[in-house]
């Protein structure tokens, strides 16, 4: 099993890692029993994602997909951001090993949860 250069880049230099204080939306997905947990926090302005940060416990793919997801999402309006799919994430990373495709769900799901959370609060 091997990761693409893009995965390794995002894994070793993750973008937007951390947590937004007083976030407008929070998404938490995953399960420590499965070895993976993700928390996405977003700041929303004019129905757009103004800022986004992640925290992830998981394998290399989980960390890299979290990182690329934040790059894909930032600046997008909420509908477009919500539409980011696991395939978009995997593609942006130049592909994932087949046994790691499920990890890309985590990131897309996390963002959707955060957006839902924001919407339910507003």
């Amino acid at each position: 099993m091997s990761y693409t250069k893009e995965v390794m880049d995002h894994f070793s230099n993750p973008r937007n890692m951390g947590e937004i204080e007083n976030a407008d939306g929070i998404g938490e997905v995953g399960n420590p029993t499965c070895g993976d947990m993700m928390k996405i926090t977003i700041k929303v302005k004019d129905d757009c994602i103004e800022d986004i940060k992640f925290k992830t416990l998981g394998c290399g793919a989980a960390i890299a997909t979290s990182s690329i997801l934040t790059e894909l999402a930032i600046g997008k309006n909420l509908d477009d951001a919500y539409a980011i799919s696991r395939n978009d994430v995997a593609e942006a990373l130049g592909g994932l090993p087949p046994e790691k495709m499920h990890c890309s769900n985590l990131a897309a799901d996390g963002l959707q949860e955060a957006i839902k959370n924001y919407r339910s609060n507003n």
Binding site: S12, M17, E19, E28, L57, G60
Partner: protein
């Protein structure tokens, strides 16, 4: 890519062949390419080399005679063979094994249950170290138990089981006892007579021999049915043109290992303890798995709370350090190690495990580097984690 600075601490997965092994294998790959099954001189000299290697392997494990050694393509085939031979050629269709065996044993048990030959397997529970008591084994034995297969030492946590006492139970009840000694042969003294086993698996590449070669020890008098069919090799028990260079290489590795073991060098143990102490002092919420003393020299399995093993493994690799997370063979899989679960670790903890396995080639400097490198990686990954509270 291999450069001088690689720190290789995954010797439980595979080892670097000894330079002496390479040197002695060479002629048998190039001009001594004869087939030992043939009658002309080129074949006979190959046969002689194979016989010498057989004797060296027999010596390493204290076999009564070289005739008790059958060469295979590796530890996996040896394990498959031992189980299939015992169950397929007998009316006794019940296998007893442990829940911490290598997949080579576990999956062969499942296979025997599915091919319609009537096989049935029981997997014994182990305690927090991986031990099995005589009572547990004794209670599991049925009238139709055809083989008991319990590993000598576990490849993930390093614990060495008390095979002598378990084989005693088997002998009393007249059941064949097999042990997967892939992780102990060549590292600690292994004597088949002392252990009292009927069959034993070993693998060349685990003790600085070549890959693709292993052996099954079968005590004289034990029924043995072929697993790979089709030729007179290995006294008609294991077909296929003999892998002469690899056999020769494993023979040399066996000889070197025997000399090494007899020297009772404790360097590897000391380095392992140093590694554990160094990590334990510099990383919070780290714990050691397996028995701290009854363990293969050089194997250290730790769990580090709040991190996933693969992420640590990748970051260590970026620093040139090779280790394993969970079992080497299941790194591609997403399930936590069956061994760590069997010794009672919760899944979320088992995910955060790393195995360091040293060899006689490991240096103190390398261990110092690991002790310096890992704490920073742990901090970094914990910082990323949504569950880590500090």
């Amino acid at each position: 890519m291999s450069d001088k600075k690689t720190i290789y601490l995954d010797n439980a997965a595979t080892t670097e062949p000894a330079p002496e092994v390479l040197k002695m294998m060479c002629p048998y790959v190039s001009n001594e390419y004869g087939n030992p099954a043939t009658m002309y001189s080129l074949g006979l000299s190959a046969k002689k080399a194979v016989d010498e290697a057989r004797e060296k392997v027999a010596n390493l494990i204290g076999a009564e005679s070289p005739e008790e050694i059958y060469f295979t393509a590796g530890g996996t085939e040896s394990d498959n063979w031992a189980l299939c031979s015992s169950i397929m050629c007998s009316d006794k269709k019940h296998v007893i094994t442990s829940s911490i065996e290598h997949h080579a044993v576990l999956e062969t048990c499942e296979f025997l249950e599915t091919i319609g030959c009537g096989g049935k397997a029981d997997f014994l529970k182990v305690d927090e170290y991986g031990f099995i008591s005589q009572e547990t084994l004794s209670e599991a034995i049925k009238d139709n138990t055809g083989i008991i297969s319990i590993m000598h030492a576990n490849n993930e946590i390093g614990t060495i089981l008390d095979i002598k006492s378990l084989a005693e139970v088997a002998r009393e009840k007249g059941v064949i006892f097999h042990t997967d000694a892939v992780q102990t042969v060549g590292k600690i003294p292994v004597d088949v007579k002392e252990l009292g086993v009927d069959m034993l698996s070993l693998s060349g590449h685990k003790f600085h021999g070549p890959k693709g070669i292993g052996a099954l020890y079968v005590k004289k008098g034990t029924k043995l049915k072929p697993f790979i069919h089709g030729g007179g090799q290995e006294k008609g028990k294991r077909a296929g043109t003999s892998n002469v260079p690899a056999i020769v290489g494993m023979g040399i590795a066996a000889e070197l290992a025997k000399n090494y073991i007899e020297k009772k060098d404790t360097r590897v143990e000391k380095l392992t303890e140093k590694l554990w102490n160094g990590l334990n002092e510099n990383i919070t919420k780290i714990s050691r798995n397996g028995h701290p003393e009854k363990t293969i020299p050089g194997t250290l399995n730790v769990t580090i709370t709040g991190i996933e093993g693969e992420a640590m493994l990748l970051m260590l690799d970026m620093q040139g350090i090779c280790v394993s997370s969970g079992s080497a063979c299941t790194t591609g899989s997403l399930d936590p190690s069956h061994v760590l679960l069997a010794i009672g670790l919760p899944a979320e903890v088992a995910h955060g495990s790393l195995r360091f396995s040293l060899s006689k080639y490991t240096t103190e400097e390398e261990i110092d580097t690991v002790i310096k490198t890992l704490p920073a990686i742990v901090n970094r990954l914990r910082e990323m984690s949504p569950t880590w509270e500090g």
